[in-house]
Amino acid sequence: MTDDRVVDPGSVTENAPAPIVRVQSVSIRHDDRAASTPSDVTFDVAPGEVVLILGPSGCGKSTLALALNGLVPHAVPAELTGTVTVGGMRTADETVARLSERVAMVFQDPDSQMVTGTLLDEVAFGPENLLVDRAEVLARAEESLRQVGLWERRGDNPDLLSGGGRQRLAIACALAMKTPILVLDEPTANLDPAGIEEVYEVLRRLVDTGDHAIVLVEHNLDAAIDLVDRVIVLDAQGRLAMEGPTRQILINRVDELLRLGVWLPVALLAALRLRDAGITLDPLPLTPRELTTSLDAQDALPTLASSAPDSGVSPAHPADTTGDPNLAVRVTALDLDRGRTRILNGIDLAIERGSFVAIVGTNGAGKTTLLQAIAGVIRAPAGRIQVLGVDPAKANARTLARTIGFVFQNPEHQFIKATVAEELAHGPQLQQIPVDAIETRVSNMLDRFGLQELRDEHPFLLSGGQKRRLSVGTALIDGAPLLALDEPTFGQDRARASELLSLLDELNAEGTTVLVVTHDLQLVAEHCSHILVLDSGRVAAFGPTAPVLASDALESAGLRTPPLARAFREVERHPAWRAVTRLSDLPAGATS
């Protein structure tokens, strides 16, 4: 594959590491902010090197990535001080178009990177803009598409690809620019686990060729970490906190990283928890495979306290509990069609009050449809669903709002009023509650979600996290004991996702039943009490989290076992530990 490449003068100097990216005392201040993030950051990237930028959310990682190809300051309204030099060009002096011959970008959202009608046109788009001649455009397009395994689909519309496929296409588009530098800004944040796997397979092959210096901004360290040569860590103020070889930084300075609020690989988190419990794994593992190996290297491990009760993982839950007051949701023989396609097929389900259920499945398995039918967002056939004694197919909007709160994927979609307080008051007003009672409720809710100071703000002007909290608040304000959320962590960074999940944990602890559709299985593993696996519109498994994760239900439904469960499942010398699926299953130490 490397033979027919145009040799770039910058990328062959393996042993003379003149940096290809040079970031010197860079501070960036967005026009609407007071502080600069990043702030006074300096680092170099050598040709062929893979560098990961880490930092808590809001530290300016993505902004820094945009500065590498000149989008900051040329296209994004922000002020940049210091200098960024890429392949010998100072970004401040060149246009983004010129810089695109040095640096190619891959962004988070695959949809917003597609501009043409076929894969081939898409890949050709960049080189065509650079006036590359026609034969060379086609040669580049073919090579790039082959590198990501999409050449056979060159005539298709990009919309026909899966999320992972489209992101691979975005990578091919970047490769076709023939740049020595590749920058990827959260390339997997919008993808499901299968898509993440696809993208990292492609990246792994790219790294192996060594043709590109790669700068990666990524939260999903479980997938990325073994590709990365060096990490650059920013602190919450956007200053350079540490920099060095991956293993050295992650292992030697792990406590500092934790304090900074940087997300760490789950294998490392598990090892840290074990270390606190007096089990020292040396060296500390970074990947699930390393964790497995180092556990097997231990001669003895303590017995696990009490492994989760091995209660039934059943293909279909026993249906002898009609009218059980402990049930929050019961679904009997539910079929649902959309157009001529059957989406749900003979669903039987009984969800107990107070559970925290994750509904998982591949794209098109019917997850969202099931959730929406339970919440009455779409109408199911009457008599099939009971939610706390209410049939959502027949209930009016007011009853429904008192019974179940529904939170859409994008909080903005459900905002209908001009201020935060009015947004919250809307529900109770429909319930025709006396005015002063409404005010008390709204005020309590504002306190509960930390929005009291923002009560007169327009909902659209809130930050992402605040919007999400407000949307949960509006769903709960009518006192619904059941909360349903559709992909609430999709496209969000880890910090915000975990903020939301802690909130759900609290609500759940107070007695709210929570149903959530998601594809983030590790997060699910840490928080949910039950998992419902859907496969082509049927219930493939439903039961308590631990046994479902330990079974092969996920994989046979086309999903991936989350990394921690994968690591422990392969442990050979300590069979009792194979059932560990989440951090809280591990023996707790004095400090955690």
Partner: protein, 280 residues
């Protein structure tokens, strides 16, 4: 999930589908998209002023014949053109006829009489002329519409009419927004219904409801457009005054022949019709 929704809507009509060649008989596909717009333009303009039945009828039949021979049409389109369209013309002729000014008709055999309303042959003929006029104009527009693709039109606008490519290709990229926004609007509508915004009937409630969709839709649209712009910038869009064109859309002699013959035919039909009118 959002992806599946978007692709489902998109699969039906693919505005980007590659231009195809169906052989020399299906000649319309081999013409430049611009010539298929330019050629029927005079006829469309003149038809606006035609009042008789013969002129639009000639154009209807002529265009239908041209489409059936010269264009590769799907069975469904054929059925619409050959069966549904005449039915629509019939229905329109009656409904336009009802609205026709009775004074224009004068004495004319009565077709239907219901109380004070009399529907005469004369009124029906006026309605038929109007219906045929509209149909002819639509059919003339379909010559280009059914046989060229959006990207090809944009390419020939850029290559022949020297429209700046930044404008043309941005417009093309915006095609992608349509199914996306359609899906987004569905979700917003659903979300608002869940919040109890569907209460209230009548036009005022409907307007209020629709106004409520605008803010979230616009907020999403602007953010999406910004991201698309950044992605296009980083792929050197607008780097040079021109860009490599892999697909050259030629403007050949046959395009001139098509345009000139179409214009000649148009002139012929209108002068003959005018002559007939003068005699009659």
């Amino acid at each position: 999930m959002s992806q599946t929704g978007a692709s489902a809507t998109h699969q039906a009509i693919d505005p980007y589908a590659a231009p195809r060649d169906f052989g020399p008989v299906r000649f319309l596909h081999r013409l430049n998209p611009l010539s298929k717009i330019v050629a029927p333009l005079p006829a469309m303009a003149l038809l606006l002023f035609a009042r008789d039945i013969a002129t639009p009828l000639i154009f209807c039949l002529f265009v239908l014949l041209m489409l059936v021979i010269g264009a590769h049409l799907r069975a469904r389109t054929l059925v619409v053109l050959l069966v549904v369209l005449p039915l629509v013309v019939a229905v329109m002729s009656v409904s336009f006829g009802i609205w026709a000014d009775a004074a224009l008709v004068g004495d004319s055999p009565v077709l239907v009489e219901a109380g004070p309303v009399r529907f005469t042959v004369g009124a029906w003929l006026i309605g038929l002329a109007t219906a045929l006029r509209l149909t002819a104009i639509v059919l003339l527009a379909l010559i280009g519409g059914l046989t060229s693709t959006g990207p090809d039109l944009v390419r020939s606008l850029v290559q022949q009419l020297r429209v700046p490519y930044r404008l043309g290709y941005t417009a093309l990229a915006a095609f992608r927004f349509v199914p996306r926004f359609g899906h987004e609007l569905d979700v917003i509508r659903q979300a608002h219904r869940v919040r109890g915004m569907s209460d209230g009937r009548g036009p005022i409630a409907a307007v209020a409801r629709t106004a409520g969709y605008v803010v979230p839709l616009l907020a999403g649209a602007i953010r999406h457009a910004e991201r698309v712009a950044l992605a296009m910038d980083s792929r050197a869009f607008g780097a040079h005054p021109t860009r490599t064109e892999r697909y050259l859309i030629a403007f050949r002699v046959r395009d001139w022949v098509f345009i000139v013959s179409f214009w000649a035919l148009t002139a012929g039909v209108f002068t003959t019709a005018a002559g007939l009118h003068a005699i009659g």
